[in-house]
């Protein structure tokens, strides 16, 4: 049998039962690889449940620094008998399967095209440890020790990480280190270590990662820090996975960084609302009153916030909303990732509404874009929605470090203070003085006789006086559209990269690909794979809606444009068609909506198939899952 080979280039997957302490052991494994300086991207694939259901952890190691999912499994570590049959079947030929051999492997599961390693994890821990809870928890640490031997992980880094993890609970360090050593010894004595797939930090092909001194963090924590640095003082929310950890992290940092040194009082308010309607109402009220306020939610919450989003759009109240997208309604799939709130967010609410969207692709961008969202919301006096997703928000990503310019000043937009009001001869809340669609705001309590007005939805004239006249309404909503045009020059521009040189192109067509958020990493990888196969594809990463003019140009300059995204209906494709007036046959969807993040292999496969297909089929291509 030919075994898979590869230095710093493989996928390891853990199959566990949730609630058994596997998460921290698996994290230990990924973090050790990260500390060795080898590019790694771990992902939790977890159920909507607290204890007892299957959960997986997929760790991709990539010498070139690809951080998206590749697809496929090279080494499966399975300690969940419930899923063992599927897990063993998912290992690619020549791959490796590690399992708890306390119970022997059922004969029908045996495969002769993969290498199988049994470690009696349960038995070893029953023998070594007295306390029942430790017997269970340390099983996970034992297998990490074994993998350290099999894959050549630096053992001292693992020990350091354990010391960091148990700072303040030193008693726990020695049993954990002992468990690590047990696994390590067992593997050394019973198997040929290391395997043909292994780590070697001296041969890394990703200078961009090493040079920028990457950090390992999740997008939700980064967004929370963005809210701290961006000057948010009010956070209102209702718990919903996968957005909950945004406010959890905000709370943690605020308790550290936002306590007034003199009085011990808080320079922030966090309100756990009764539902998402109230969460958004609180944000609207606080922003109307001039504070920087935000909320974080996921799909169902976005639906509930829709009425208020419409009000904020028409009343021109800044709002910052972080939408950590997941799959659809109810419970279950919602702990899986998707990019499927695009249309719901872009056009949220009744009447003619459009909202500014930001699409971060890395934790660093989650940080930067959250800060920027507060500036944009106040400059444009409108809701700004940052479209993250579960994959980015809850998984650890290698990211360029967060950076801060101490000269940064919050851009509070056009707000008239008392002096400005004193000087102003006339003022009307909705008068477009500058012609950019953005009018001058006043805040409650500013001036004894000037600048007061009544904030309401759509029935008003430009002096903010109640009006149901058609002309007043039309003038107002046309101005809002003008403001949306202005937004185009305020939002982050798309990212384009130099095309990859292809010696003998196999096609005369000019190919382009558009993608955004977590579809970006695997898309870049897929484009490199396809370039190698003779298909040059130009790429553009969308970072905001409304779309920049260059997106229009990009589409027109190419014969076929792939839109790569993670939902069923090609929502970004529809948004582009709608907003840029592009004919449907110009844009070809590349989709994955299985709930697990899209892989480079899926993207490459769908594009390959599209290029061989006739143009009529292209649009109707059935998406594959990976």
């Amino acid at each position: 049998m030919k075994q898979l080979e590869g230095v710093n280039d493989f996928v390891v997957k853990f199959a566990n039962v949730n609630g058994t302490g596997s998460a921290s052991a698996n994290h230990l494994f990924a973090k050790a690889i990260f500390r060795m300086g080898v590019p790694v991207s771990p992902r939790n694939i977890f159920p909507s449940n607290i204890q007892g259901l299957p959960t997986w952890y997929e760790v991709r190691v990539s010498a070139k620094g690809y951080l998206g999912r590749r697809g496929g499994v090279d080494l499966m570590l399975c300690v969940n008998p419930q899923t063992m049959e599927d897990d063993i079947a998912s290992v690619g030929p020549g791959g490796y399967f590690v399992y708890d051999s306390t119970r022997p492997l059922a004969p029908h599961l045996k495969r002769d095209d993969i290498s199988t390693f049994g470690i009696p994890l349960t038995e070893m821990c029953m023998r070594e440890f007295k306390v029942a809870r430790l017997q269970q928890l340390l099983k996970n640490v034992v297998y990490v020790g074994a993998l350290a031997a099999l894959l050549d992980i630096d053992f001292s880094i693992l020990k350091d990480l354990l010391s960091d993890q148990f700072k303040g609970k030193e008693k726990l360090i020695s049993p954990n280190v002992h468990a690590l050593e047990m696994g390590y010894q067992y593997a050394k004595e019973n198997f040929t270590c290391p395997l043909p797939i292994r780590l070697d930090p001296s041969v890394i092909d990703a200078p961009h990662i090493r040079e920028s001194q990457h950090i390992l963090m999740n997008g939700n924590t980064a967004a929370a820090l963005g809210a701290i640095y961006g000057g948010a003082t009010v956070a209102a929310w209702y718990p919903i996975t996968p957005s909950t950890s945004v406010v959890d992290a905000f709370s943690k940092y605020a308790e550290r960084m936002r306590i007034d040194a003199g009085t011990g009082k808080r320079n922030f308010a966090i309100l756990q609302a009764e539902d998402e309607l109230a969460a958004m109402g609180i944000v609207v009220g606080a922003s109307w009153n001039g504070a920087r306020a935000f909320t974080a939610t996921s799909g169902p919450g976005l639906s509930l916030m829709s009425e208020f989003l419409g009000l904020a759009y028409f009343a021109e109240v800044p709002v910052v909303l972080i939408d950590v997208q997941r799959s659809g309604p109810s419970t279950g799939m919602p702990t899986r990732s998707q990019q499927s709130d695009i249309l719901a967010a872009a056009y949220a609410s009744h009447g003619d509404t459009k909202h500014v969207l930001l699409f971060p692709a890395t934790p660093r961008e989650c940080f930067d874009m959250t800060v920027q969202a507060f500036d944009l919301a106040e400059q444009l006096q409108t809701p700004v929605i940052m479209m993250s997703d579960l994959d980015l928000g809850m998984n650890d990503w290698m990211s360029p470090p967060l950076e801060w310019d101490d000269d940064y000043e919050m851009n509070r937009g056009k707000v008239l203070d008392k002096n400005a009001l004193d000087e102003a001869e006339t003022w009307g809340r909705y008068v477009d003085v500058d012609g950019d669609g953005i009018c001058y705001r006043t805040l409650p309590g500013t001036h004894p006789d000037k600048g007061a007005f009544f904030t309401r939805g759509s029935s008003k004239n430009d002096m903010a006086v109640y009006s149901e006249k058609g002309d007043d309404y039309v003038e107002n909503v046309d101005r809002l559209l003008r403001k949306f045009e202005t937004a185009k020059s305020y939002v982050p521009v798309p990212k384009v990269h130099d095309p990859i040189p292809v010696k003998k192109p196999k096609t005369k067509q000019k190919l382009g690909a558009l993608f955004f958020g977590t579809s970006a990493s695997p898309s870049y990888e897929a484009v490199e794979i396809l370039a190698e196969e003779g298909y040059p594809i130009d790429v553009m990463r969308i970072r905001a809606f409304p779309f920049h003019e260059s997106l229009d140009a990009f589409v027109h300059e190419h014969d076929v444009v792939f839109v790569i995204e993670q939902n069923r209906d090609g929502q970004m494709r529809q948004l582009i068609m709608n907003e840029c007036h592009i004919a449907p046959d110009k844009l070809t969807s590349v989709l994955n909506y299985s709930g697990t993040p899209i892989t480079a292999r899926t993207i490459a496969r769908q594009i390959r198939r599209a290029l061989n297909a006739t143009s009529a089929d292209v649009v109707k291509l059935h998406p594959e899952t990976a």
Binding site: I228, Y229, T233, M257, G281, G285, S287, M410, D449
Partner: protein, 349 residues
């Protein structure tokens, strides 16, 4: 359609301690039906703010949707106002009040806005003890959508179209007492003598102050058989007078022992209230509920200050908010700077 009142003011109009006349507390001309109870509430709010010498621009007016929620346009034209969405004013007020703890918040709502679509937000507003005054103009119907029964319509009350309401009504005052509101009153739009001091007391109170005001809808619920018509309310009114003496003013009236009680608010203002019975205590939730129940049993509309906790602590206190309003903080208070971020990066390697 709306237009502004002429700015002409009578030179002899009396001024309050800030030098404002009552006209300085006016809003636009009302577009509600002639005789609508809501207009009397608007007038009472205007007078109360004038009498209490509150600078108009330090008040923020908030409302939901309904005829009643239009009211804030018709008083305090120098205050900012926010006509938000149906039933959700409580959350907007909550956000506004934590953003700037220095303003005075006045919420105006209807029985539909509060007791149906907004019930959830209303009870959570009470639960948080947001520092604001919350007035419900209660007419037992949805005025703006043309007279459907609301959730506060009394069982058996007859609507404009002659049908009897088959459901038990929700009593917002009892609910507020039960839910822990720190100031609960009921009044009648036609009883200016009681309503004005109640509003002044509510605005001086620290914490959530609720006033349920029976406010007849002349167009849809003023018919014979409606329990919230002018006639029915007047016939059954059992009003307990209330006097309000702002801080620094002397009490001039002499009160009889027993049937009345004097309460001092946190800012030094004094409320003098008359009680439903001799041993009724203003700071007892049980007494308040018993009095409300007793009145309800006999078909009476008991009005006055029903419950008061003068020591109540508001949401700003619970959240341990800094005394400087959050909306006035800048980079210095809010942004930890690049050095801190560097050390955060270090912790993530």
């Amino acid at each position: 359609m709306s237009y502004y009142k002429p700015k002409f003011q009578h030179p002899k109009l009396p001024k309050n301690s800030l030098g404002y006349t009552v006209a300085d507390y006016d809003g636009s001309i009302s577009t509600l039906c002639a005789g609508c109870g809501h207009d009397s509430i608007s007038a009472a709010i205007r007078n109360a703010c004038f009498l209490s010498s509150i600078p108009p621009h330090r008040i923020a007016k908030l409302s939901g949707i309904g005829c009643s929620s239009k009211m804030p346009t018709y008083f305090l034209g120098r205050s900012h106002g926010f006509n938000s969405v149906h039933g959700r004013m409580p959350s907007v007020a909550t956000g506004a009040s934590v953003a700037n703890r220095d303003l005075i918040y006045l919420g105006v709502s209807g029985d539909g806005d509060t007791a149906s679509i907004g019930m959830g937000q209303f009870v959570h507003l009470i639960r948080r003890n947001v520092n604001m005054t919350y007035i419900v103009a209660n007419n037992g119907c949805y005025g703006l959508t043309k007279g459907q029964d609301s959730a506060t319509a009394d069982l058996g009350s007859v609507g404009k179209y002659g049908t009897q309401n088959p459901f038990e009504g929700i009593d917002l005052a009892s609910l507020a007492v039960l839910q822990g509101a720190s100031f609960v009153a009921r009044s009648f739009s036609g009883d200016k003598e009681q309503l004005e001091p109640l509003i002044r007391a509510a605005m001086a109170h620290r914490g959530f102050a609720f006033i349920d005001v029976v406010s007849p809808c002349v167009t849809f619920a003023n018919n014979v058989g409606s329990t919230k018509s002018y006639a029915a309310t007047r016939d059954n009114l059992e009003a307990m007078p209330v006097d309000f003496v702002p801080m620094r003013e002397e009490i001039r009236t002499q009160y009889k022992e027993g049937s009345s009680q004097t309460v001092t608010l946190h800012d030094g203002s004094i409320i003098h209230l008359h009680k439903a019975s001799k041993d009724h205590k203003a700071d007892s939730r049980e007494d308040a509920l018993m009095a409300l129940q007793a009145a309800d049993r006999t078909g009476k509309v008991l009005t006055g200050l029903l419950y008061l906790d003068p020591t109540s602590q508001d949401l700003n206190h619970t959240l341990e908010l800094a005394s400087q309003p959050l909306n006035s903080m800048g980079k210095d208070e809010l942004c930890p700077g690049s050095r801190v971020l560097k050390s955060i990066n270090e912790g993530l390697r």
